[in-house]
Protein backbone atom coordinates (compact mmCIF):
# COMPACT_ATOMS: atom_id res chain seq x y z
CA UNK A 1 0.00 0.00 0.00
CA UNK A 2 1.45 3.30 -1.09
CA UNK A 3 1.49 6.13 1.39
CA UNK A 4 -0.17 9.45 0.53
CA UNK A 5 3.24 11.02 0.12
CA UNK A 6 4.24 8.99 -2.91
CA UNK A 7 3.13 9.12 -6.52
CA UNK A 8 2.29 6.19 -8.83
CA UNK A 9 5.95 5.41 -9.41
CA UNK A 10 6.58 5.34 -5.69
CA UNK A 11 8.70 8.48 -5.81
CA UNK A 12 8.47 10.89 -2.90
CA UNK A 13 6.33 13.91 -3.70
CA UNK A 14 7.57 17.34 -2.74
CA UNK A 15 5.59 18.96 0.08
CA UNK A 16 3.16 21.77 -0.66
CA UNK A 17 5.37 24.23 1.23
CA UNK A 18 8.32 23.25 -0.94
CA UNK A 19 6.38 23.71 -4.18
CA UNK A 20 4.94 27.02 -2.94
CA UNK A 21 8.43 28.30 -2.07
CA UNK A 22 9.78 27.25 -5.48
CA UNK A 23 6.93 28.99 -7.29
CA UNK A 24 7.34 32.17 -5.23
CA UNK A 25 11.02 32.16 -6.10
CA UNK A 26 10.31 31.76 -9.80
CA UNK A 27 7.76 34.60 -9.74
CA UNK A 28 10.13 36.87 -7.81
CA UNK A 29 12.87 36.16 -10.33
CA UNK A 30 10.62 36.65 -13.35
CA UNK A 31 8.88 39.75 -12.10
CA UNK A 32 11.65 41.36 -10.05
CA UNK A 33 9.49 41.70 -6.92
CA UNK A 34 10.69 41.00 -3.39
CA UNK A 35 10.08 37.39 -2.38
CA UNK A 36 8.63 38.50 0.97
CA UNK A 37 5.81 40.44 -0.71
CA UNK A 38 4.43 37.32 -2.39
CA UNK A 39 1.51 35.64 -0.66
CA UNK A 40 -0.69 32.69 -1.56
CA UNK A 41 -3.47 35.03 -2.59
CA UNK A 42 -1.20 37.25 -4.70
CA UNK A 43 -2.84 37.30 -8.13
CA UNK A 44 -0.33 37.39 -10.95
CA UNK A 45 -2.59 39.40 -13.23
CA UNK A 46 -4.48 41.64 -10.82
CA UNK A 47 -1.68 42.28 -8.32
CA UNK A 48 1.53 41.90 -10.28
CA UNK A 49 0.30 43.18 -13.65
CA UNK A 50 1.07 39.97 -15.52
CA UNK A 51 -0.38 39.68 -18.99
CA UNK A 52 -1.15 36.41 -20.73
CA UNK A 53 2.37 36.25 -22.19
CA UNK A 54 3.92 36.53 -18.71
CA UNK A 55 1.58 33.84 -17.36
CA UNK A 56 2.38 31.50 -20.24
CA UNK A 57 6.11 32.03 -19.77
CA UNK A 58 5.84 31.27 -16.05
CA UNK A 59 3.76 28.18 -16.73
CA UNK A 60 6.29 26.95 -19.28
CA UNK A 61 9.08 27.42 -16.72
CA UNK A 62 6.99 25.48 -14.18
CA UNK A 63 6.46 22.69 -16.69
CA UNK A 64 10.18 22.43 -17.27
CA UNK A 65 11.08 22.77 -13.59
CA UNK A 66 8.59 20.22 -12.28
CA UNK A 67 8.47 18.05 -15.41
CA UNK A 68 4.72 18.41 -15.79
CA UNK A 69 2.29 19.46 -18.54
CA UNK A 70 -0.20 22.10 -17.45
CA UNK A 71 -3.50 21.79 -19.36
CA UNK A 72 -4.56 25.09 -20.93
CA UNK A 73 -8.01 25.12 -19.33
CA UNK A 74 -6.50 25.32 -15.85
CA UNK A 75 -4.66 28.54 -16.72
CA UNK A 76 -7.82 30.63 -16.85
CA UNK A 77 -8.73 29.67 -13.30
CA UNK A 78 -5.36 29.60 -11.59
CA UNK A 79 -3.67 32.97 -11.48
CA UNK A 80 -3.07 33.28 -7.74
CA UNK A 81 0.15 31.80 -6.38
CA UNK A 82 -1.81 29.47 -4.07
CA UNK A 83 -3.95 28.06 -6.86
CA UNK A 84 -0.96 27.62 -9.15
CA UNK A 85 0.71 25.68 -6.32
CA UNK A 86 -2.36 23.44 -5.97
CA UNK A 87 -2.42 22.86 -9.73
CA UNK A 88 1.25 21.85 -9.74
CA UNK A 89 0.73 19.52 -6.74
CA UNK A 90 -2.24 17.95 -8.49
CA UNK A 91 -0.20 17.37 -11.65
CA UNK A 92 2.72 15.88 -9.73
CA UNK A 93 0.51 13.14 -8.31
Amino acid sequence: MMSAKTDRRGETLPSRDFVLAEIKQMVAKQNGVALATLEEDTDLMADLGYDSLDVVELVMSLEEHFNIVVPEETLDKATTIGRITDTVIELLR
Binding site: D43, D51, S52, L53, M60, E72
Partner: protein, 134 residues
Protein backbone atom coordinates in the same frame (compact mmCIF):
# COMPACT_ATOMS: atom_id res chain seq x y z
CA UNK B 1 -19.84 66.66 -13.88
CA UNK B 2 -19.04 67.72 -17.44
CA UNK B 3 -16.49 70.50 -17.93
CA UNK B 4 -15.43 72.38 -21.02
CA UNK B 5 -12.03 73.48 -22.23
CA UNK B 6 -11.62 76.95 -23.72
CA UNK B 7 -11.88 75.31 -27.15
CA UNK B 8 -15.28 73.95 -26.18
CA UNK B 9 -14.23 70.31 -25.76
CA UNK B 10 -16.39 68.60 -23.17
CA UNK B 11 -14.62 66.41 -20.68
CA UNK B 12 -15.03 64.89 -17.24
CA UNK B 13 -12.54 64.46 -14.46
CA UNK B 14 -12.48 61.24 -12.53
CA UNK B 15 -10.27 60.18 -9.66
CA UNK B 16 -9.60 56.48 -9.12
CA UNK B 17 -7.17 55.28 -6.49
CA UNK B 18 -5.56 58.71 -6.25
CA UNK B 19 -5.01 58.96 -10.02
CA UNK B 20 -6.89 61.59 -12.01
CA UNK B 21 -8.34 60.60 -15.36
CA UNK B 22 -9.74 62.84 -18.07
CA UNK B 23 -12.68 61.36 -19.91
CA UNK B 24 -13.34 62.69 -23.39
CA UNK B 25 -15.54 61.46 -26.19
CA UNK B 26 -13.91 58.79 -28.37
CA UNK B 27 -14.05 61.06 -31.43
CA UNK B 28 -12.16 63.78 -29.51
CA UNK B 29 -9.54 61.29 -28.33
CA UNK B 30 -9.18 60.09 -31.91
CA UNK B 31 -8.59 63.68 -33.06
CA UNK B 32 -6.01 64.24 -30.32
CA UNK B 33 -4.21 61.04 -31.30
CA UNK B 34 -4.18 62.12 -34.92
CA UNK B 35 -2.73 65.51 -33.99
CA UNK B 36 -0.05 63.76 -31.93
CA UNK B 37 0.66 61.56 -34.98
CA UNK B 38 -0.24 58.44 -33.03
CA UNK B 39 -1.98 55.67 -34.91
CA UNK B 40 -5.40 55.47 -33.36
CA UNK B 41 -6.04 52.02 -34.87
CA UNK B 42 -3.06 50.58 -33.05
CA UNK B 43 -4.25 51.97 -29.74
CA UNK B 44 -7.72 50.50 -29.81
CA UNK B 45 -8.60 47.22 -28.20
CA UNK B 46 -11.54 45.23 -29.41
CA UNK B 47 -14.18 45.81 -26.73
CA UNK B 48 -15.73 42.35 -27.15
CA UNK B 49 -12.40 40.76 -26.30
CA UNK B 50 -11.98 42.67 -23.04
CA UNK B 51 -12.01 40.45 -19.99
CA UNK B 52 -11.61 41.52 -16.37
CA UNK B 53 -7.97 41.55 -15.44
CA UNK B 54 -6.91 41.41 -19.06
CA UNK B 55 -8.24 44.74 -20.22
CA UNK B 56 -5.03 46.68 -19.84
CA UNK B 57 -2.66 44.25 -21.47
CA UNK B 58 -3.70 44.78 -25.11
CA UNK B 59 -1.08 47.19 -26.44
CA UNK B 60 1.77 46.18 -24.14
CA UNK B 61 1.24 42.50 -24.82
CA UNK B 62 1.16 43.29 -28.55
CA UNK B 63 4.42 45.20 -28.31
CA UNK B 64 6.09 42.41 -26.36
CA UNK B 65 4.93 39.79 -28.85
CA UNK B 66 6.21 41.84 -31.80
CA UNK B 67 9.59 42.29 -30.11
CA UNK B 68 9.81 38.57 -29.33
CA UNK B 69 8.82 37.64 -32.89
CA UNK B 70 11.39 39.99 -34.46
CA UNK B 71 14.06 38.62 -32.09
CA UNK B 72 13.22 35.09 -33.19
CA UNK B 73 13.71 36.15 -36.81
CA UNK B 74 10.20 35.25 -37.95
CA UNK B 75 7.85 37.22 -40.15
CA UNK B 76 4.28 37.59 -39.00
CA UNK B 77 3.11 35.13 -41.67
CA UNK B 78 5.80 32.62 -40.79
CA UNK B 79 5.04 32.74 -37.08
CA UNK B 80 1.31 32.33 -37.76
CA UNK B 81 2.06 29.29 -39.94
CA UNK B 82 4.41 27.68 -37.41
CA UNK B 83 2.08 28.32 -34.47
CA UNK B 84 -0.99 27.14 -36.35
CA UNK B 85 -2.71 30.47 -35.80
CA UNK B 86 -4.63 32.24 -38.57
CA UNK B 87 -2.50 35.07 -40.02
CA UNK B 88 -5.40 37.52 -39.57
CA UNK B 89 -5.63 36.56 -35.90
CA UNK B 90 -1.92 37.18 -35.32
CA UNK B 91 -2.21 40.46 -37.19
CA UNK B 92 -5.06 41.57 -34.93
CA UNK B 93 -3.13 40.49 -31.83
CA UNK B 94 -0.05 42.43 -32.91
CA UNK B 95 -2.15 45.52 -33.55
CA UNK B 96 -3.55 45.27 -30.03
CA UNK B 97 -7.02 44.81 -31.43
CA UNK B 98 -7.65 41.49 -29.80
CA UNK B 99 -6.49 39.94 -26.54
CA UNK B 100 -5.34 36.40 -27.20
CA UNK B 101 -6.28 33.55 -24.89
CA UNK B 102 -3.65 31.50 -23.07
CA UNK B 103 -3.78 28.68 -25.60
CA UNK B 104 -2.94 31.02 -28.50
CA UNK B 105 -0.17 32.79 -26.57
CA UNK B 106 1.30 29.42 -25.66
CA UNK B 107 1.32 28.28 -29.31
CA UNK B 108 3.06 31.52 -30.31
CA UNK B 109 5.67 31.25 -27.55
CA UNK B 110 6.46 27.62 -28.42
CA UNK B 111 6.82 28.50 -32.12
CA UNK B 112 9.11 31.45 -31.31
CA UNK B 113 11.23 29.41 -28.89
CA UNK B 114 11.61 26.64 -31.48
CA UNK B 115 12.62 29.18 -34.15
CA UNK B 116 15.19 30.67 -31.78
CA UNK B 117 16.61 27.25 -30.96
CA UNK B 118 16.76 26.27 -34.66
CA UNK B 119 18.47 29.53 -35.42
CA UNK B 120 21.01 29.05 -32.62
CA UNK B 121 21.68 25.45 -33.70
CA UNK B 122 22.24 26.59 -37.29
CA UNK B 123 24.66 29.27 -36.19
CA UNK B 124 26.66 26.71 -34.21
CA UNK B 125 26.69 23.95 -36.83
CA UNK B 126 27.42 26.23 -39.79
CA UNK B 127 29.77 28.92 -38.58
CA UNK B 128 30.52 31.62 -41.08
CA UNK B 129 34.28 31.52 -41.42
CA UNK B 130 36.16 34.72 -41.04
CA UNK B 131 37.10 35.69 -44.53
CA UNK B 132 40.58 36.94 -45.07
CA UNK B 133 40.71 40.11 -47.10
CA UNK B 134 41.15 39.34 -50.78
Amino acid sequence: MARKTRQGIEYQLLELGGVRYVIVRESIFEQLCRRAHMNWQELTVNKEELKPGLDLDGPSLAEKLIRRRVASGLSQAELARRAGVRPETLNRIERGRTTPDFATVRKLVIAMNTAERDHAAQTISKPHGIRSPE
